[in-house]
Chain length 129, copies 2
């Protein structure tokens, strides 16, 4: 089993717990972006957007490079692998859970299909001429 | 592609962004627990532990059942599948990234191995007697 660094998992999951930050990561899958480009789609101040970028940066999910007066950001995807791996441990639990739900639904369907047949009287047949 | 509910992802990732809450989830993989049992391993007040449990509950990761005076908690793993699936999108990015790192390391090793041969003079051979 992979050893997980609790402080890094804290930072990564915290960074992902916000839709704006998740959208910024998604934008970076298209290539590197300046801070202003990352902030542009959101209805918020540049200061507010910068705070989100800093949260991503301190989780190690963004690498920032200063080129003259421009801050270029690019995706640093490696810490996402740790979070994904942490979650994978629970896969058998959600699979079992979903299997159980599906079984219940199937049993419920089967009950509904057999119930009317027992309750309703046999359909009347037209008298043969 | 699975449609993700942003509010649920916010709540799930937020809930996972804390080592205590992750440990509580892990404890619940062993079976259901009372609130006190969940709180017991942690050096914190029952009130503080309850706050963590509430964060897990509002993310839909814990199902709480009141039985008389006891609150029983059990793992509700389904929302973890959504978070795992969201992260899976980034798998190709971290794989490419790790592949690139590995390539760099290999190239660096190769350079180190070939460099001394070029730099250092040929070892002197003893004069044959």
């Amino acid at each position: 089993m992979v050893e997980h660094n609790p402080a890094q998992l804290d930072a990564v999951f915290h960074a992902l717990g916000d839709a704006t930050r998740r959208k910024m990561l998604r934008a970076l899958t298209q290539g590197e972006r300046t801070v202003s480009q990352l902030a542009e789609p959101f209805d918020m101040s540049l200061a507010a957007a910068s705070k989100h970028i800093k949260a991503l940066e301190s989780a190690g999910l963004i690498h920032r490079e200063v080129r003259g007066r421009t801050h270029m950001c690019r995706l640093a995807p490696a810490p996402l692998a740790g979070a994904h791996d942490w979650l994978s441990f629970y896969e058998r639990f959600w699979t079992d859970h979903l299997d159980a739900l599906e079984r219940l639904l199937r049993e419920d369907d089967a009950r509904k299909q057999s119930a009317p047949a027992r309750k309703s009287p046999a359909p009347k047949r037209g008298v043969k001429s």
